[in-house]
Symmetry: C2
Subunit: 214 residues, 2 copies
């Protein structure tokens, strides 16, 4: 199994966690999102993924991009250590949290968006930080509100076992800290993050421990 | 089944299409995203969905938010007229397209983001349009590149039957047109849109035909 990814990419980080939780080995193929104008735009990479994004998983059978599509694919093809609960109602709860992070939080603060705001639109550093902080706080506040009152929360986002929601949450918490927002202000989220970080699967997937870490 | 939604919301539109394709009746409960500072921020609505977003589906058994979580939930609980293919490899292909639209395109041009850019960050109308057009063209170009070379494309995004990828694509095409980007410039996408629009399920879900249409 090959995983085209980038150490700091939040969506790559999600897939690394899931592979570790499921005990799946993979070959790490680094794609540098900044060097040479972005290696994801090379002809070679575009033929792998026309979306010009990491991560991409290639297991010899399929080539899949989009982290949540990859997580669902891994769940179907490697059901050991399930990352989704059994009942549809519970699966929906986990997917709802995952999609919130993937659709409402992460897309607003990723590299290409910040580059466009400061480059083409000419936002200064203060405006950029206002933008980043606003979306992080909006998202973390909603997640805290949802998880602090959730009857199905356990040590993790859902129950006492990690799910794809935790695979999405931990990279988002890492991003928040990197951009100066302290997760400790959100007590439920801080506890879940601590519980995740206690597991090797999460620790080994951290951006500071990858072959292309700078 | 109750669907809290808003006529112009792209993610609400996705769920309406899926319900129509599956022949599911629902009670339409309009939540006005602009009126009274946004009805999604009311205490009453927050108790339904702490994420303060539409759509929300309530079938008496579960209350689910996030359109893609809802589509997966409907697929599991009402498997008739499947909106995902059978094989994991194929399901991954459909989810990959859906996630691209839901995570890389839609979040950048939705109402709350545009309001923040022009409000708090003070972008003028020209800058706003530059932002909108850039992300629409980036996204549509990638989708056209992917679908025009896809061996699994048929009359629809995947094969000759509509899937959740089409449920995501058609509302995005509607959005593009609304913001002045002509889908006709993307021949593969234009054909798929035409094929979808030929079906009642898509036509009846259109923002111009809802109880709260203005």
């Amino acid at each position: 199994m090959k995983l085209y990814n980038y150490f700091r990419s939040s969506s790559s980080y999600r897939v690394r966690i899931a592979c570790n939780l499921k005990g799946l080995q993979y070959e790490y193929l680094p794609i540098h999102l900044n060097r040479n104008g972005g290696e994801q735009f090379s002809e070679e990479f575009l033929s792998l993924n026309p979306q010009a994004l990491v991560p991409v998983l290639d297991d010899g059978e399929s080539r899949v991009s989009q982290s949540l599509a990859i997580l669902e694919y891994l769940e179907e093809t490697h059901p050991q250590t399930p990352l989704l609960p059994y009942a549809s109602k519970d699966r929906a709860a986990v997917r709802e949290l995952s999609q919130y992070i993937a659709c409402e939080m992460h897309p607003l603060n990723n590299l290409r968006v910040l580059k466009f705001l400061t480059g083409t639109l000419g936002l200064d550093e203060t405006q950029k930080q206002t933008w980043i902080t606003h979306w992080l706080r909006t998202g973390l506040t909603a997640l805290e509100r949802q998880l602090s009152t959730s009857p199905t929360r356990g040590a993790f986002c859902f129950s006492d076992r990690p799910t794809i929601a935790d695979c999405c949450f931990v990279p988002q918490a890492f991003n928040a800290r990197r951009f100066g927002v302290d997760i400790a202000e959100y007590p439920t989220l801080a506890t879940i993050e601590r519980n995740c970080e206690a597991l090797d699967a999460f620790r080994d997937a951290h951006p500071s421990r990858q072959p292309d870490t700078e």
